[in-house]
Amino acid sequence: MPIEQIETESLLSAILQGLPNTIEKIRDMRDSFLTDAVLLGEIPSPTYGEEERIRAVMDRFRENGLKNPMVDEFGNASAHLAGTEGQSSIVVMAHADSVFSPEVRHEIQVGSDTMTGPGIADNALGLAAMISIPRILSELNIKLRDNLILVANVKSLGRANLEGANGFLETMSLPAKAGICIEGSTLGRLSYSGLGTLRGEITLQVPADYDWKRFGAAGAISHLTGLINHIREIPIPKEPKTQLVFGGLKCGSSYNTSPRQGSLRFEITSEGDELIGQVENQLNEICEQFSAETGTHVQMEVVAKRMNCGIPFTHPLVKTTRSIMQQAGTTPKVDPSTGDLNALILGGLPAVTLGLTTVENLRETNETVHLDPLYGGMAQVITLIQAIDQGICEL
């Protein structure tokens, strides 16, 4: 075995030995980050409306004595924990936006073993965990050689197409060597690749001069149903793995009046970039044909498009992350990401996404996180930061 490899393994082994102690320390100091999760989670933060939650994150950055807390031109909050050497940096990101609109009552309930409320898992808990890292490192007396760059990124979800994360990475001035994305859901998650994604919205409108006497005349609901049936006929191959999901349908508001317009939201994810392009072309053709045949106006808008990206399963960052998870008693579940990880990897950084705890009712208003597994999930993040800092996650 080469000497370098022996050194790496002994460094990793030393770090892994500290994991049980890290879990217990985090359990002892849980109150501060559970509090942050509740206080941040109760501030509505829809995509493109994250300002108030970002202000609260900035307050915490300042209270924790971090360097250069700032909100950039995109709305992201970031701050630095200076390393003892500061030659390079580790980026830790958690998205600050939520799928819930401000009209939803953002109230988090705290039980003995759980916390429940809209967005607590996705991603109030992730955000709180990111904020708490400097305190945990200090409590564990860990001094990093690298700078730690903490980012609460905005405009991550839905139509925003990772605008915040991309903007931050494009303008980041410090050289970075790796990135970690933190998500509340789900413990064991290990993402090291980003799936090619196309996200779009099809709007259908019955025109004002529509001939209601023509054969097959119908309102927007019937037409959208027909359109969906056509789309479902697109052949989706098993290889490369590809998936088409209908994620939202908006149409009508009464019992007895045919609506004149409606919209359908969808997402195609695939391991093949070419295939995504093919499906996009087919969708455009279907919309055009359907529009001509039914006398309706059908328009498809692509709101987000990303290429496949990733680092290999054998990359030292992935390998080390798996070792840490195994040491923590967690079975890694490889799960390609469609989120911020894509921005990091496409930006040239080796990166992984980790989930913190087990979750029920994800993205429902009664989203629930379990607290006991959370401490192990947090300890994985801290241990991975240590490992990256020690230089054992580099090629």
């Binding site: 109150d31 206080l39 309930q109 705290v110 039980g111 003995s112």
Partner: protein, 326 residues
């Protein structure tokens, strides 16, 4: 409104945001050698108690050491209130175990009263257990005037009801019992006290030396009695009040509010009787007092409401003539 009242309203009404600097507040508390106890009275509050204990302890004991002692005093909950409160680090007491020689009465006032014996602080802050949007301001907003101003002895919370905003002006936001019962009663009998914007709020902080001098009704009348008794003993000058913005809590049925009003009326008339006001009934005031807030300024609106009366119709000559033309 008298100049004295207007002056009190301006000097002794705060918004919690003026006390945001908790580091300074803790320094001032320590400089004055004050100890602060926080008490949450509970009965079957498992849904909200966890969050209250977690957030208030974490923010006001661990992050900023403003509170020295944090106790949950329970009336005998049958749900998981005690387990959850203990889990997040509160000192948990059964009211029945405190001062057992005086016996046990079941009611929120009992828990508040026994807290004076059980807790050690120079200042005791009481916070209800059913606040679903709990935030540290519910405590620091109340204890800060006591820390900064030696002459203030009792600080009361007031809030908004979130649905009542309209073009920058918002009503005083009292609950139904406040608006229908308490404010009219105070306007009639204790006009100065009607400057207290939310007399029934369950959140207040007070110095031990005043709490130990007043009786505590066990049930619904405890907040009203505090105001009446302390006003009689020390006057309006020793009160202050803090705007805590928004408070979300469970809604009560009209029946429950009726029961609450009945308890409050008993307390109120007992005080009127004890102060001789029932035997020597004063001329009743005809000014109704309520509040509005505009651009952060609190303004009392005074409206004269004179309930004029007509005599029985039979006393009117024209009526008698029409009924009996002969």
């Amino acid at each position: 409104m008298s100049t004295k009242e207007q002056s009190w309203l301006e000097r002794n009404t705060f918004h919690h945001s003026v006390f945001w600097d908790l580091i300074k507040l803790v320094e001032e508390k320590e400089r004055k050698g004050l100890k602060i106890s926080l008490c949450i009275p509970t009965l079957n509050e498992e849904k909200t108690i966890g969050k209250e204990v977690l957030i208030l302890r974490s923010e006001l004991m661990e992050r900023y050491p403003l509170v020295d002692e944090f106790a949950v005093i329970d009336s005998g909950s049958e749900d998981k209130t005690l387990e959850v409160a203990k889990n997040y680090g509160a000192d948990v007491y059964l009211a029945s175990d405190i001062l057992p020689e005086v016996g046990n009465k079941r009611g929120k006032g009992e828990n508040l009263w026994k807290a004076i014996h059980q807790l050690k602080g120079d200042i005791i802050c009481y916070v209800d257990a059913d606040i679903s949007n709990i935030h540290p301001r519910f405590v620091y907003g109340l204890v800060a005037p006591l820390i900064h101003r030696d002459e203030v002895t009792y600080v009361k919370a007031f809030y908004d009801r979130p649905l009542n905003y309209s073009s920058g002006i918002r009503p005083s936001g009292g609950g139904r019992v406040t608006e229908i019962l308490i404010r009219p009663l105070f306007s009639l009998f204790y006009p100065e006290l009607s400057n207290v914007i939310q007399p029934l709020s369950g959140e207040y902080a007070a110095r031990r030396e005043v709490l130990e001098q007043i009786p505590f009704p066990i049930g619904y009348g405890v907040e009203t009695s505090h105001l009446l008794d302390l006003y009689e003993k020390f006057g309006l000058e020793t009160f202050a009040q803090t705007d805590l913005d928004r408070r979300v809590h469970r809604n009560q049925t009209t029946n429950a509010l009726g029961k609450m009003s009945f308890g409050i009326l008993q307390t109120f008339f007992n005080r009127l009787h004890a102060q001789g006001k029932l035997d020597r009934m004063p001329d009743l005031d005809t000014f109704y007092r309520r509040f509005e807030v505009e651009d952060g300024n609190y303004r009392q609106l005074i409206q004269e409401v004179v309930e004029e009366e007509r005599p029985p119709m039979i006393d009117i000559e024209g009526y008698r003539n029409r009924q009996n033309p002969s």
